[in-house]
């Protein structure tokens, strides 16, 4: 059966009207405000991780006894905590731990998950069956139970917590990667690549990987957000990084005890987390679209 791509050509005409690759200024112009804002948020948070001292004069870990539990004020923008530590400073310094944590988590999931999915999707056969059953059983164990056990196993600390969170997301990445690889493998251009004498690995490298990665990257951006949340949840359950690490999840988790006395201690970090996760989510969506 033949099918006609109606309308495709006049679209092509429009594209031809533009230069092959629009200059970044042009692309920036077409950036939607919400996306721009999201990028801004992430960018800011990143600079926090790199040069916290630029953003605050206070220490993120050392408190000033006698200045504890002060409400937000001129010298303490977001108030102080039970040890007289400036909350804003703790949030700024905490970015390093939260983000690195989230990064490690995503990296673990991305690396192992994508690898498994790639092998399963491209090799197929019994190997695929085996891998996917393993992935399923990973999903079958309640994520929290899994990460808790892993932490107990590895011991406490930012990185271990991150690994535990990442291990849980391996399954998601694996499944997505596999389905993407399978999709790409069915495409004509992959067959054409084989048809022009391409070896398995060459085709994998040139076509399958780059084309299946878009949605995987999108998922990564999404997971980045949920990793921060997962880490904070573990902090709440007492499985977070050891004090006085100003990791955001810990801030919310510790702050909640003061809720009836000092609301700002959980409200402020909570808000920051929500913003960052929202931003990650928004960026993930736009990556997804750009791929489609």
């Amino acid at each position: 059966m033949t099918s006609r791509e109606t309308g495709e050509d006049d679209l092509a005409l429009i594209v031809e009207a533009l230069p092959a690759r629009p200059p970044w200024t042009a692309r920036l112009k077409r950036l939607s405000p919400s996306l721009a804002l999201s990028c801004l948020v992430i960018a800011l948070v990143f600079t926090w991780t790199l040069l916290p001292q630029l953003f605050t004069g206070y220490s993120g870990t050392e408190g000033v006894p006698g200045e504890q539990l002060q409400p937000p004020s001129a010298e303490h923008v977001l108030g102080t905590d039970g040890l007289g530590r400036d909350l804003y400073a703790r949030i700024v310094y905490g970015a390093r731990y939260s983000l690195s944590g989230a990064f490690v988590a995503v990296a673990v999931g991305l690396l192992f998950g994508t690898l498994l999915g790639l092998i399963a999707g491209s090799r197929g056969g019994w190997l695929e069956a085996l891998i996917m059953r393993l992935v399923d059983s990973l999903l079958a164990v309640p994520s929290l139970l899994l990460s808790l056990s892993i932490i107990v196993l590895l011991g406490f600390g930012t990185i271990n917590v991150a690994i535990a969170v990442g291990a849980v997301s391996v399954a998601r990445f694996a499944r997505l990667a596999r389905s993407e690889v399978v999709r790409v493998r069915r495409s004509d251009y992959v067959e054409a690549a084989f048809g022009s004498g391409g070896t398995f690995w060459a085709v994998l490298r040139r076509h399958v990987l780059p084309n299946s990665l878009t949605s995987v990257i999108a998922l990564a951006a999404l997971q980045f957000g949920s990793a921060i949340l997962a880490i904070s949840t573990l902090g709440f359950l007492g499985y977070g990084a050891p004090p006085p690490t100003p990791e955001w999840g810990l801030l919310i988790a510790e702050g909640r005890n003061y809720l009836s006395r000092a609301w700002w201690l959980t409200a402020a970090p909570g808000l920051v987390v929500v913003l960052v996760v929202l931003a990650a989510d928004r960026i993930s969506k736009s990556i997804q679209r750009s791929g489609a």
């Binding site: 309308g7 050509d9 092509a12 054409a192």
Partner: protein, 548 residues
């Protein structure tokens, strides 16, 4: 003459693309008289479908009528709210859509979807509607109606689905039917029956039809008047006879000349040469596929296909969907291992090749795909697409590679500027040229073209065919041309095999087969080709130039 049923007056439509608006229909005006069939003819991007959607009030979300009027029996409905339009849609104006495959809700029975149009417009009670449904199904030739009514779309063939959609369109005896490419997704034989059915029904009810099509042949056979659109502007309009006889606009002339037709002279006479120098020899090719979930049961897609192709000639494998022609192509290039039979390409038996040997064999024979949108990696630039095959064999210096690629891009008639483009920046024809360049860059002796021009507009199609012809001349290539379109086949191939349900029903030199077919099936195929009544214009000289 009577007052027009539909009057489109200076209609302009624009689509929102990101932050700016892109006008695609520029002040189109035409009318449809009661009982009349008017064909909107144009290639992709001509704005014909957009115009039709506007008449139904079903523009895509980002579409907007900028100005102009759409008068239905005198009243302008251009500004109407969806709510008001709902009242006339289906009852006064109805639609026969393009792709029967996806135009029916997959999870509801055809009966319920046919009944729905009557429920929406509250025509009769349950019982009345049910009997009407059965009548309609019977009328469009879906029998036994009771059984069909209970079936789901996926249980029907393309033609049957289109009949259901026709039944839906005529159910309420509307004044106007908009048929948007009603048969372009169907095989020619089916196409003819469907078009006949539409004709009968509209005669019965004195319905007017606005026939939207890319196929001048179909328009010529079925319409009273033609409206030729290009780039959202009307090139010319008038009674079919006049327009075809004496096209006023150059564009119409071009369309006429480029439209493939049996009556046309062949592009080239078949070469003489050594009858024993065979590029391809297929002998008793048989291919079985396991039936999914059917255990050991298998389905025979090809049954003992045999033919020989002399070097430097073009052999066509013709058949309708499901005939097994694509299977044949894929077996010959070595993507499928045949169940039985022998395939010699340049004297090598493809069926015996495995692993590395098969990989090396690839450089002898290349495949060009039907869909130029799916066969190019969206992430590669034209340069990398064409370069890639060179990386797969003996290493070649980067400079040489670049030279080869440039050379090849030039040969397929694309400017070097395109090397940095990505496929999405190219039109369909351009993409197919890139695909051909990729196929040829390894310097194969044999090229298998699987419906390689079917997805293209006639003008583009003509250019690609011309290009292929030229390349064959200069490079002495052998083509295996797989197609459903006899007209095209007749134009470019020397020998042909007609296959039907996996079996070869006809074979031999094109002239012989087309003049004196062995099988009734071939005869039907030939008769079904639309546009037999069309006048013949000499092939357009500027076809070879230009790369639109």
């Amino acid at each position: 003459m009577t007052a027009p049923l539909l009057e489109v007056d200076d209609l302009a439509i624009a689509y929102r693309m990101g932050d700016h608006e892109q006008r695609v229909v520029h002040g189109v005006s035409f009318h449809v008289a009661p009982g009349e069939v008017v064909a909107l003819v144009g290639e992709s991007g001509s704005g014909k479908t957009t115009t039709a959607q506007a008449v139904l009030g079903l523009l895509a979300g980002n579409g907007r009528i900028e100005r102009g009027a759409i008068r239905l029996s005198g009243t302008d409905i251009a500004g109407w709210s969806q709510r008001r339009l709902d009242a006339i849609r289906g009852a006064v104006v109805s639609l026969i859509p393009q792709d029967p495959g996806s135009s029916l809700n997959p999870v509801r029975t055809v009966g319920s979807q046919l009944a729905e149009v009557m429920q929406i417009h509250k025509r009769g009670d349950r019982k009345a509607i049910r009997t009407r449904v059965l009548d309609l199904l019977t009328r469009v030739g879906l029998m036994p109606a009771e059984m069909r009514a209970r079936q789901y779309p996926h249980e029907l063939s393309g033609g049957m689905r289109q009949r259901v959609l026709i039944a839906i369109a005529v159910a309420l005896k509307p004044k106007l039917i908009i048929a948007d490419e009603p048969t372009s997704a169907l095989d020619v034989t089916v196409q003819r029956r469907i078009l006949d059915l539409i004709d009968e029904l509209r005669r019965e009810n004195g319905t007017s039809v606005l026939l939207v099509t890319h196929d001048l042949g179909v328009a010529a056979d079925r319409a009273d008047r033609l409206v030729v659109l290009q780039g959202g502007r009307i090139q010319e309009q008038g009674p079919v006879k006049d327009v075809l006889a004496a096209p006023a606009s150059a564009y119409t002339r071009r369309l006429l000349s480029d439209a493939p037709s049996l009556a046309k002279p062949r592009l080239r006479r078949s070469v003489g040469g050594d009858a024993t120098d065979l590029a391809i020899e297929v002998d008793g090719l048989t291919q079985d596929f396991p039936i999914a979930g059917g255990g050991a049961k298998t389905f025979r897609a090809l049954d003992g296909l045999s033919f020989k192709v002399r070097r430097g000639t073009t052999h066509a494998v013709v058949g309708e969907s499901g005939s097994g022609k694509t299977t044949a192509a894929r077996s010959i290039v070595g993507f499928l291992k045949p169940t039985a039979g022998r395939i010699l390409v340049d004297g090598m038996d493809v069926t015996t090749l495995r692993g590395e040997a098969l990989r090396r064999f690839r450089r002898h024979i290349q495949l060009v795909y039907q869909n130029p949108f799916g066969s190019l990696d969206p992430r590669q630039t034209v340069f990398h697409i064409v370069e890639e095959p060179l990386l797969n064999f003996e290493p070649i210096a980067a400079a040489d590679r670049a030279r080869k690629v440039r050379d090849m891009i030039g040969r397929v008639g694309l400017p070097e500027a395109f090397l940095t483009r990505h496929p999405r920046g190219l039109s369909g024809g351009q993409r197919q040229r890139v695909a051909i360049a990729r196929a040829l860059v390894l310097g194969p002796r044999v090229l298998v073209l699987d419906e390689a021009v079917s997805a293209l507009d006639v003008t583009v199609q003509a250019q690609i065919l011309a290009l292929l012809d030229e390349l064959q001349g200069t490079l002495g290539l052998t083509y295996l041309f797989v197609s459903h379109d006899l007209a095209v086949v007749q134009q470019i191939s020397d020998t042909v095999s007609v296959i039907h349900k996996g079996r070869q029903v006809d074979g031999g030199p094109v002239e012989r087969v087309f003049a004196r077919p062995d099988s009734d099936y071939t005869r039907d195929l030939i008769e079904a080709i639309p546009g037999r009544g069309m006048p013949v214009l000499a092939s357009n000289p500027d076809s070879r130039a230009g790369f639109i």
